[in-house]
């Protein structure tokens, strides 16, 4: 019996040791940095982030990685050039560690069985946690047609991705513009177009499907921003038009024939169209400040007979808001497009109530089609506009902040100019940003075959617990009409907004 137990013990030891990665003690040094994908070099990573798995894009018959901090260390064998760090080892190394530098030594074995060591890769580990989940829509690079689409959530801690809602359950309609109130997954909304049209709002265990459109506002609510109190949603109301470029470096142009901003009161199911935000100009992209006392938005002059698309530039404004009386106050110009010769889009205020992120592009607001679109931050107190470190020659768009305001997330088409992927950057104490890094995946080859766009990534502090089957009954029901608050509004039929159906003659001319 003892002999049998001995054999079992030896067997277990052999299994255990064979699964451990042997260290490389004899090697030669090389001068060139190893090429790894995603580029996780010289970046700052959040302490609570899941394993930063990567591929080694070098020639060799074997690779190993020695990943360590001051206090912990792990050796990882490459499988098909992939360094996949086990979750528990990563936890010891980064999540539970107090060290602030993560070092990666990579080793390559050539065909002569000689090991080479690449120069060290050093990454900073930030004590600022990132929100646990990101929520995005996946869709192909098409402009008119769609088939299957859905809203998905990925845990940044475990890197697991799961669908929140796919349109296979909602008659293959178009699901878009998902949004949260202050990154709170219990307050989520999105629009549905085509079949089962309406805006679905799920908040504090209540769900409703509403129709925001009425003769008084001219179109349904589009780009949303949910007030931090959870009581209101500011929507832009846009008559959106689309056309296609013929120049090979350009794709599409999306612009508005008119646009305003309206305020939806969730509890009272009413919409207000405040005079201040429904002028003849093109108000768009509402975004609340974290304290809910200000609404940031962009605006461009109304289209007139001499309007040219390439001269259409949006400036950044803010307007005071009193949540108690639901009234808007003084308007401030934050950044004038004319002064920076750029158009502004997707403003978002960080938790510090001082740092605004935004896209700067040459014209318009629909930045995902503007190759030159980059992410900038603007600090209100210093009035300083900073370009983030993570910009590229391709599109950067849709910035958003983690709840603590320390992590900036955005999409970029830098890899191929067509497909957008999610990147993160850390906001440093001095207001600068760290080098952006691509969202990690369980399999570092994930992106090789991935042919969809990551669209509208939003942070969520915890998991979104939405049950699509419970939603179905509501989705299939008639959308509830919203009451228009005539007393505190200006109707589109009497206000200054012109419900233009045609673009001005010469609008499509080039900027001379």
């Amino acid at each position: 019996m003892i002999r049998v137990l001995n054999y079992i013990f030896i067997f277990l030891v052999v299994i255990a040791t064979s699964s451990c990665t042997s260290e490389v003690n004899e090697y030669e040094l090389t001068d060139d940095l190893a090429t790894i994908y995603p580029d996780y070099t010289n970046i700052t990573i959040p302490r609570n982030m899941g394993p930063m798995n990567f591929q080694i894009q070098e020639e060799g018959i074997d690779f190993k990685a020695h990943i360590y901090t001051k206090t912990n260390s792990v050796w990882v064998d490459a499988r098909e050039n992939k360094i996949i760090i086990p979750q528990n080892k990563w936890r010891n190394l980064v999540n539970d560690s107090r060290d602030d530098t993560l070092i990666i030594d990579l080793f390559r074995k050539d065909k002569h069985k000689i090991w080479y060591k690449y120069p060290q890769i050093r990454n900073a580990v930030s004590h600022d946690n990132i929100d646990e989940y990101i929520v995005y829509r996946k869709l192909p690079p098409a402009n008119i047609l769609w088939s299957e689409m859905g809203i998905y959530q990925q845990s940044l801690l475990t890197l697991t991705t799961k669908p929140i809602l796919t349109n296979t359950i909602t008659d293959k309609n178009c699901i878009n513009c998902h949004s949260f109130s202050s990154n709170d997954p219990n307050r989520m909304m999105f629009h549905m177009r085509a079949k089962n049209g309406g805006t679905l709002i799920s908040y504090d265990n209540t769900t409703k499907l509403i129709n925001t459109n009425s003769e008084h506002i001219g179109s349904a609510g589009a780009y949303p921003s949910w007030h931090p109190s959870g009581k209101f949603i500011a929507f832009s109301v846009n008559r959106i038009a689309q056309d296609f470029h013929s120049h090979i470096e350009m794709t599409a142009l999306v612009y508005d024939k008119f646009s305003d901003i309206v305020l939806y009161d969730i509890e009272n199911n009413t919409i207000t169209r405040p005079r201040e935000l429904a002028t003849g100009a093109l108000e768009n992209m509402p975004s609340w400040s974290p304290d809910g006392r200000k609404l940031y938005y962009i605006s461009a002059p109304e289209l007139n007979d001499s309007s040219i698309y390439s001269e259409l530039k949006y400036s950044l404004y803010s307007i005071e808001f009193d949540p108690e009386t639901k009234s808007f106050g003084k308007t401030d110009t934050i950044l004038e497009a004319g002064k920076i010769n750029k158009s502004i889009s997707f403003p978002r205020m960080a938790a510090d109530n001082n740092t605004l992120s935004m896209c700067l592009l040459d014209y318009g607001y629909f930045s995902i089609y503007n190759k030159e679109s980059d992410i900038y931050t603007y600090t209100l107190d210093s009035k300083k506009l900073n370009e983030i470190k993570g910009n590229s020659n391709e599109v950067e768009s849709y910035p958003s902040w983690s709840q603590n305001g320390k992590w900036l997330m955005f999409v970029s088409k830098r890899e191929d100019g067509v497909l957008s992927k999610i990147y993160f950057s850390h906001l440093n104490e001095d207001g600068s940003t760290s080098k952006a890094f691509l969202a990690p995946q369980k399999d570092p080859r994930f992106y090789d075959d991935y042919l969809l766009n990551f669209n509208r990534p939003e942070f969520a502090i915890t998991k979104v617990e939405l049950n699509p089957r419970k939603l179905l009954k509501i989705v299939k029901s008639e959308a509830q009409n919203v009451d228009f608050d005539l007393n505190n509004s200006v109707s589109i039929s009497t206000g200054p907004t012109k419900q233009t159906k045609e673009h001005p003659e010469g609008f499509y001319e080039q900027d001379k």
């Binding site: 098409a142 008119i144 047609l145 089957r469 080039q510």
Partner: protein, 591 residues
């Protein structure tokens, strides 16, 4: 002949009938059309394990890709239903003495093969049922041989079938087990419970799986049609037949019947099987649809002469899409503006540009038109739309790879190239064309690059003429753009605009004006009451002038429009005939 021998001969006959049926398939089935309509580069097998039935989908896509190799394709079509038929024989052997046993089995097999005739039916249903039956048969075989683990094996096979092959196969195998003669009432209940419980479990595992998807299945529809009759038949037919076999067994025991009655039953089955095979063949086979799909697939391969040959079998194109392909074939012949009306242009410019609607099939056809024309941005745009709605079809991927390589966006071109390179069938194409990812220029890339507009303009939506005018203005040597523009003016009766383009014919080196242009100019001169048009170096052919006089005389003397139409049938290839009788813009003209 004793009963056993009779049964044996009946079985042999049924197998023979299946082979005859398969021969009919051979005869009528064009495997290339299955590839054209259903082929998508499959995902990795591991991806198929993430959803119920995903594995089946990938396996079926792999089999479809093998249809490119005819011998292998036909072998699959023969062997797979053959094995399916034999599996059913084994599974239902306890009913072998029932007079309608062979007939019922044959009916189930035919219902399964039905989708193959109609091309647009989903082969995933067929695959799901066939593979599930194999799994069940293996489980049945092991259980019979060992005499152990019968129930766990069957339950396991149900689970495997649902998870790997999806709902149709799961449903089929559940019904087989429930209705099986050897299944006691208690186990019938257990299988019924499994039939209800497994989809419910899958709903629990996938929060985005609706009740309809879990219990009715997403296989009942394809991108081409919403509900599949074949799916409904197989869903309803099999249980009905099994119930019939079981409930009538005690009454219809062949061995107990008189020899005369036995012979009658056998004869009835022979005749029924033959009638059924022919009826199914005739019922499901639509030659016009086949020609239409064939034209589409040939156009995709740019086999224009074959397109025109096939078009002769159609009295008129059934849809703008078919006419669109015929028009492209006429253009490729080199006499676009002479022969455009050789086929009735009933759809006007809809069949020239397909701008009347947007869907996946039209999107790829538009991408191909602009690809051949050298209009890179529009080709790329429509190919992306097609990819979105029709999936990773190899033709679309090729179109995107070349377009992106032409615009030197090699990273994205490489992503699509990787997909094609994974396919056994398209690996060769991707290897031959690998150089374009590194800047090599082939004929297509050169054409696209030569026609890239130097300055930008907007294409507009639903305004093909405007788009083409702008494109041609920037590419004045692009003969295809020019001729499509002229064809557009002809079709919408804008003869004045056409007349203003006469200098362009001269500049582009036309030796003489195309016949249809001459015919239009004669109409123009009558409309404008002009004796002599400024034709630059051209003159209108005497034969055309004489034809015009003859046409006018016949029409004038005909008395009524209908009589006139009959009288000028021999002029149906002329512009005058189009203007008077075929044009969809007639009302506008009359007004």
């Amino acid at each position: 002949m004793n009963l056993l021998a009779k049964q044996k001969s009946l079985q042999l006959f049924s197998i023979g009938a299946i082979l005859v049926f398969s021969f009919l398939l051979f005869y009528s089935l064009d495997l290339s059309l299955i590839c054209y309509l259903h082929e998508v580069i499959p995902d990795k097998l591991s991806a198929g394990l993430k959803s119920t039935g995903g594995f089946n989908e990938i396996i079926v896509l792999h089999i479809i890709s093998l249809f490119h190799f005819k011998a292998i394709g036909y072998a699959f079509i023969l062997i797979m239903p053959g094995l399916f038929f034999l599996s059913l024989q084994l599974l239902f052997k306890t009913y072998a003495r029932h007079p309608f046993f062979q007939f019922s089995i044959f009916l189930i097999a035919i219902a399964l093969l039905l989708p193959l005739f109609n091309y647009t039916y989903s082969l995933k249903i067929t695959g799901s049922i066939i593979f599930s039956t194999y799994v069940l048969t293996i489980a049945y075989f092991i259980a019979e041989k060992t005499g152990k683990f019968k129930i766990p094996l069957f339950l396991l096979s149900l689970f495997v079938n649902y998870y790997l092959f999806g709902l149709p196969g799961f449903y089929f195998s559940s019904v087989v087990l429930i209705a099986h003669k050897s299944t006691s009432f208690k186990f019938k209940l257990i299988y019924l419970l499994a039939l209800i419980a497994l989809p419910a479990l899958s709903m629990a595992a996938n929060i985005n799986f609706s009740i309809q998807q879990a219990y009715i299945g997403c296989f009942v529809s394809t991108i081409y049609e919403s509900v599949k009759p074949s799916a409904i038949i197989i869903y309803i037919l099999t249980p009905l037949l099994l119930i019939f076999l079981q409930s009538t067994e005690h009454k219809a025991n062949l061995s107990a019947a008189k020899p005369k009655k036995q012979r009658l039953f056998s004869m009835l089955q022979f005749i029924s099987i033959i009638i059924l095979a022919i009826a199914v063949f005739c019922f499901s086979f639509n030659s016009n649809h086949k020609i239409t799909y064939k034209i589409e697939s040939l156009a995709q391969e740019r086999k224009w002469t074959e397109v025109l040959n096939l078009a002769k079998q159609l009295s008129a194109a059934e849809s703008p899409l078919v006419q669109f392909h015929i028009n492209r074939a006429i253009y490729d012949e080199g006499h676009f503006l002479d022969n455009l009306f050789m086929y009735p242009q009933l759809f006007g410019i809809d069949a020239l540009f397909l701008d009347y609607a947007s869907n996946g099939t039209l999107a790829q056809a538009k991408a191909d038109l602009y690809f051949d024309m050298g209009y890179g941005n529009d080709s790329r745009h429509w190919a992306n739309e097609s990819l979105t709605s029709r999936g990773n079809k190899p033709h679309t991927l090729k179109c995107l790879i070349i377009n992106y390589a032409a615009s030197q966006q090699y990273s994205i071109a490489k992503r699509y190239w990787n997909l094609l390179n994974r396919s056994v069938v398209y690996k060769k194409w991707s290897q031959i064309n690998e150089g374009i990812l590194n800047g090599e220029i082939n004929e297509d890339i050169a054409r696209l690059q030569n026609n890239f507009p130097e300055d930008d303009f907007f294409t507009g939506i639903g305004t093909p003429q405007l788009k083409l005018e702008k494109f041609y203005a920037r590419n004045p040597e692009n003969q295809m753009a020019f001729e499509y523009l002229i064809a557009n003016y002809l079709l919408i009766h804008n003869i004045g605009k056409l007349a203003s383009e006469i200098p362009e014919f001269e500049r582009l080196g036309y030796k003489k004006l195309p016949r249809l242009v001459e015919e239009a100019l004669l109409v123009y001169s009558v409309q404008k009451n002009v004796d002599k048009l400024d034709l630059r170096s051209f003159k209108i052919d005497e034969k055309t002038q004489q034809d015009f006089k003859n046409f006018s005389l016949i029409i004038q003397s005909a008395g009524s429009k209908e009589k006139g139409k009959q009288a000028v049938k021999s002029f149906s290839h002329t512009y005058w005939y189009y203007l008077m009788f075929d044009s969809k813009y007639q009302k506008k003209l009359n007004s």
